[in-house]
């Protein structure tokens, strides 16, 4: 996720503790007004690129995308267990890694990131590992993170340190951890391990559909969760934590099933009946929060919450899956559910 800083934002919350946070340590205030728009009215498609695939290098299940300043594209594939590097024209340049648990191998490479040093950083969701590659695919560093639980997001800072977001650990409720470049733990933030949908009772089921997402800009880190319409932020130098409750039109809050689903089909239907936060991307001055209705996330209906460069919030219906933001553009999947993978680059119509 791209490094970015978002200065001058008053992160606020409507209801203290309303998001199911065990200990409400984050600052709070009123919710922002969020205006509904249509995606096509709010964004312009300015470019598109088809990502090259070969018989031995299929794209199956996209688990993270990053775009650097030159337009090169990094794509994680959690099903194939590898990371693919594409040129700005979509040409496949390199397949990095394979399924496995050794060096140059991934169980779930969910978070490929271009680092500020030009290297490629990949966190393995299941394994608490960060591997660093050069663009030729050579392994440059192998960092094992101790006691982090499942890694659910990665951001690399200018100084080489990095941040991961996890589901918390046995010893800690904190979900955001700052490591130095060698993998030594520097500090923990955000005691929100047991976040649950706003207003919902605590329930073991939330732990099973809960995932955290994170992106950063400069000294400010943003975190959200699948089961919450809240965004948290941390200012790293001061450690100040804030949160904003995003009450937006159209959001269907996760609720438990009224009765145990009789079969798998009913289970899936229930899972498709509410919104889940699906990722978080922060660009130079914008925050993109896509909410998807459907846990499998293969082109399911999506609402895109956007904080624009002036601090205004909108929610766009009819949005494609937005999977990255960089260079003033939001990158969305134009072919969700299809074998061809075409990324569309969108620019907001408003500043």
């Amino acid at each position: 996720m791209k490094l970015s800083s978002l200065s001058g934002i008053a992160m606020c919350v409507l209801l203290a503790n309303a998001c199911g946070v065990d200990r409400g340590e984050a600052a709070s205030a009123g919710p922002p007004r969020i205006t509904p728009v249509r995606f096509t009215d709010a964004f312009t498609l300015v470019d598109s690129v088809e990502l090259q695939q070969t018989d031995s290098a299929l794209i199956v299940r996209i688990s993270g995308v990053d775009v650097d300043r030159s337009g090169s594209i990094l794509l994680g594939d959690v099903s194939e267990g590898n990371v693919k590097l594409f040129g700005p024209d979509g040409r496949l340049l390199r397949v990095i890694g394979r399924k496995g648990d050794g060096p140059r191998e991934f169980k779930a490479p969910r978070y490929p990131r271009f680092g500020p040093d030009g290297l490629i950083y990949v966190a393995d969701g299941q394994d608490g590992r960060v591997q660093v590659f050069d663009r030729a695919g050579a392994l440059r560093r192998f960092i094992r993170l101790e006691d982090v639980g499942m890694v659910m997001g990665l951001a690399v800072r200018e100084d080489g340190s990095f941040l991961v977001v996890t589901d918390g650990t046995e010893r800690s409720d904190h979900v955001l951890i700052h490591f130095d470049s060698a993998g030594t733990r520097l500090k923990e933030f955000l005691s929100i391990k047991k976040v649950r949908p706003t207003g919902a009772a605590d329930d073991a089921l939330w732990a099973n559909v809960r995932n955290f997402f994170m992106d950063a800009r400069g000294d400010t880190v943003f975190v959200t969760s699948t089961v919450s319409d809240t965004i948290w932020s941390v200012h790293l130098p001061t450690g100040r934590e804030s949160r904003t409750h995003l009450a937006f039109p159209g959001y269907v809050r996760p609720t438990p099933p009224s009765a145990p689903p009789p079969d798998i089909a009913a289970l899936v239907k229930w899972g498709n009946s509410f919104h889940l936060g699906s990722t978080l991307n922060v660009d130079a001055s914008r925050i993109y929060l896509p909410y998807v209705q459907g846990v499998l996330n293969y082109g399911d209906p999506m609402l895109l919450v956007l904080r624009d460069g002036r601090g205004g919030w909108t929610v766009a219906s009819g949005a494609p899956p937005i999977i990255s933001a960089a260079n003033g553009r939001a990158y969305g999947l134009l072919t969700p559910g299809e074998e061809r993978v075409i990324l569309g680059a969108f620019t907001p119509r408003t500043p």
């Binding site: 199956v60 267990g81 969701g125």
Partner: protein, 160 residues
């Protein structure tokens, strides 16, 4: 009825994959044996019915079992199935799970012929164990099983 406590982890799908499996190895072995018996009986009786995938003539050297529970979990199933030889493998699905599994196979870009089979008992329908029926390198019938497809793939002698 799927108890909520068990149902929700199935839905986990993309949210998080722990890769963990609580079942004891002996239970896994028994579950795989039940699945293998059900599949081979179905094959022998000609009860397999086309479900999805690219159908072609010929016989199968490998039978790979997939149910809805497995397809909604994180078991590297897609990774394994894409690497089993398409022309020598048949996927076998409990009839009640056909829609979910065929959807999974399409999303995972797996075109291996898939067949559904009736009369799956609860142990088969609910089996979390990734199971492949094939032969040893010496040609004897063999059942391979595990909780992660990628690891299982290393055990299965692929037909030449």
């Amino acid at each position: 009825m799927i108890p909520a406590a068990r149902a929700i982890p199935i839905l986990l799908a993309l949210a998080a994959c722990t890769g963990a499996e609580a079942s004891a190895p002996s239970a896994a072995s028994e579950s795989a044996a039940a699945v293998a018996e059900w599949m081979t009986q179905g094959l022998g009786s000609g009860a397999l019915k086309p479900a999805c995938g690219s159908m072609s003539g010929g016989r199968a050297d490998l039978l790979a079992y997939v149910n809805a529970r497995q397809s909604l979990s994180c078991r590297d199933l897609g990774y394994m199935l894409r690497r089993l030889p398409r022309e020598r493998t048949w996927i076998v699905i409990p009839a009640s799970d056909t829609a979910e599994v065929c959807g999974f196979l399409a999303r995972e870009r797996i075109r291996t012929p898939a067949f559904f089979l009736e009369r799956a008992g609860a142990e088969v329908r609910e089996s979390p164990v990734v199971t492949v029926v094939g032969r040893t390198r010496r040609g004897a019938p063999a059942v391979y099983h595990g909780f992660q497809g990628a690891a299982l793939l290393e055990q299965v002698p692929l037909p030449r």
